[in-house]
Amino acid sequence: MLLLQVLINGLLLGGLYGIMALGMSLIWGVMNIVNVAHGALIMLGAYLTFWMFYLWGLDPFVSLPLTIASLFVYGYCLQRWVLNLVVRAQLFLTLLITFGVEVVMINVARLLWSSDLRQVAPSYAAANFEVGELTIPWVRLWVFATTLVLSLVFLVVLEHTRLGRAIRATSEELRAARLTGIPVAHIYAVTFGLGAALAGAAGGLWGMLFPITPVMGGSLTLKSFVVAVLGGLGTMLGAIVGGLVLGLAESFTATYLGPTYPNAISFGLLVLILILRPTGILGRKT
């Protein structure tokens, strides 16, 4: 019974990791930007959800589209007028700039909202149901369902729409994309916007389960990074699979090896995957 409970816990959390990494993987895959500010975007999404809940009483699931839209606009502007200036520069430079963006975002958040712990706690926050000896929290289940739906929508957009094709074309063959008239600067901005929107969604969902602080993003950037590499860079389905794998690994390690080991195992797993399958679980051979 414990085994099954641990499995469910891991899967429910893994979904959240998946959507977190999805945005990072997209931006990385298309533009070769390792977005260090990814966690800060998640933080921003979490705070937006919190304030809409706190000030207007808006249910966090209801306000999610607003959060997603706001983060899309924010991400679009950030790429269009800041990151596009250096997008073709060395990796180091983009790393530095996104790091700067992260520092600014965290400190502005601290100035505006203080370092107090915040919590989005709708009335149903702690509700659960039991199946035999298993206890399943409703919120986690809904959060999981939401991540799956959002990921699915996103995959469909990327695979089956003009916009998605343009993004993939830009990623695969920049010169050819330019020649066919794809407005690359715009596509880059849209891509970053989508990545930010996914981060925002992840933040809104994260805030329903865990406390929100200006510094919450740091460890989430790291988690997203691990998941993105684990699943296979640039493959969107890989991010989801990577998330589930990480969620399960953490859950099982905490239960059977002890709660100090999840990080050791997660990073050990990362190293192992990099040795055995350098392109990630679902990564294509190049």
Partner: protein
């Protein structure tokens, strides 16, 4: 070549200028003021708790100055604060404390927040033989190195759960089994070590005993295991965020112990506000409550202190704040007793200090740590109610805590 040379010249020039300014700064405060230097977390992961100390130091220094300053040999000195931000980084903290001592030439040192930062930072105080009083680190590891210049106003980590475990054994029906969970930080490890001994003494069976990483957000797997052991008592040592996550997830997972105790969180107003009804019946420990009948010089009572503190900073003082205030007051008392600003003489006075303050009686053990026990409190109707103080019950706790599913 020439550009490199001129660059070097510039560097020399700027360097000289900076050191001249620093030197001037060092001389400038030699007048009628006593400078208390500190580096404390204003950014980074301890920014929240760090702010408690920044505000406590600020308020207390102002209050001491308003009441006439510090009197030494017929002369009155004003206290001033020299404060840096250690960004929650232990190695930066060491650099800043070294700077405070060597280039800012402060008279005395106030401590940083968290045991992890205090352990290296206090080594600087010891090396330069400048007394440091700190109210933010309680781990025994700070005090068991034979240092003589470090004093602390938080009770011993090993004693944190003593009152809770003692009370648990006296409940009706008594607690028989306990789960112990602590983060692998220096302080919480010491709490864990102490707790094992107290549990043994109280003849309570330990059915779970694990460490976790302080960055842990998700406790569901840990809770799943604890649930299978069904303990009467759960003891959790960690930071406020850990406590928040644990309680919320225990509720969602339907884990129902008779009693849940946390090292950090329950006495803080913000904690109760964030958790809302889920905080009900949770126990905490605190060395200090604003409605305790204690007081002394500068602040007539704990209540009086809170009355000055709350309107100025917009939140209620908790034990972190009171402990920080006690540090400044301990310096004032020791300097006046020593009748000198000499670091060695003030250290002697601190070691022999025995003074009543808003925080309680300040009397240091030979290790430098305050001799003080914890008050067990329970959250009832959103208020912090003292339950068990110094070996006896002062209020009736709600025990066993109602099951989550039976609460409104």
């Amino acid at each position: 070549m020439t550009t490199r040379e001129s660059q070097r010249r510039w560097g020399l020039f700027v360097g000289t200028l900076v050191s001249a300014i620093l030197l001037a700064g060092g001389i400038a405060h030699a007048a009628d003021e006593i400078v208390l230097g500190t580096a404390i977390s204003q950014t980074g992961k301890y920014a929240r708790e760090g702010k408690f100390y920044v505000d406590a130091y600020t308020l207390t220094v102002d209050a001491v100055n308003k009441a006439g300053g510090v009197k030494v040999g017929g002369k009155t000195y004003q206290l001033t604060l020299k404060m840096y931000d250690d960004q929650s980084d232990p190695s930066l903290s060491v650099r800043l404390f070294t700077k405070l001592v060597t280039s800012d030439k402060v008279n005395f040192l106030l401590g940083p927040y968290s045991s992890g930062i205090t352990i290296p930072a206090s080594a600087v105080a010891e090396k330069y033989e400048i007394p440091m009083i700190q109210g933010g680190g309680a781990s025994g590891k700070i005090f068991d190195r034979g240092y003589t210049y470090i004093f602390g106003t938080l009770p011993k980590a090993e004693l944190y759960f003593q009152s809770a475990i003692e009370a648990a054994a006296k409940m009706n029906p008594p607690v028989r089994t306990a789960a112990l969970l602590f983060s692998n930080e220096a302080f919480d490890r010491s709490v864990g070590e102490g707790s094992r001994q107290w549990l043994k003494d109280a003849k309570i069976d330990k059915v779970y005993d694990e460490e976790y990483q302080p960055a842990t957000q998700d406790f569901t797997s840990i809770l799943a295991v604890i649930k299978t052991k069904n303990p009467d008592l759960i003891l959790v040592a960690g930071h406020e965020e850990n406590s928040l996550n644990f309680i919320r997830q225990a509720q969602a997972a339907g884990v129902n112990p008779r009693m849940m105790v946390f090292t950090v969180g329950p006495p803080t107003g913000d904690f109760r506000k964030t958790l809302g009804r889920a905080a009900e019946y949770v126990y905490g420990v605190t060395p200090w409550l604003p409605d305790m009948e204690i007081g002394g010089d500068i602040f007539k009572s704990a209540r009086d202190f809170d009355k000055q503190f709350q309107p100025r900073f917009g939140y209620a003082a908790d034990y972190h704040v009171a402990s920080g205030a006690a540090d400044v007051l301990a310096f004032k008392a020791a300097i006046e007793r020593a009748q000198s600003l000499d670091a060695k003489k003030v250290r002697e006075a601190l070691a022999a200090l025995d003074v009543e303050t808003l925080y309680g009686r300040i009397k240091f053990e030979s290790t430098g740590q305050i001799a003080m026990s914890q008050v067990l409190v329970q959250i009832l109707d959103g208020k912090v109610v003292p339950v068990y103080v110094a070996g006896r019950f002062v209020n009736k706790p709600v025990y066993p805590a109602p099951k989550w599913s039976e609460r409104k």
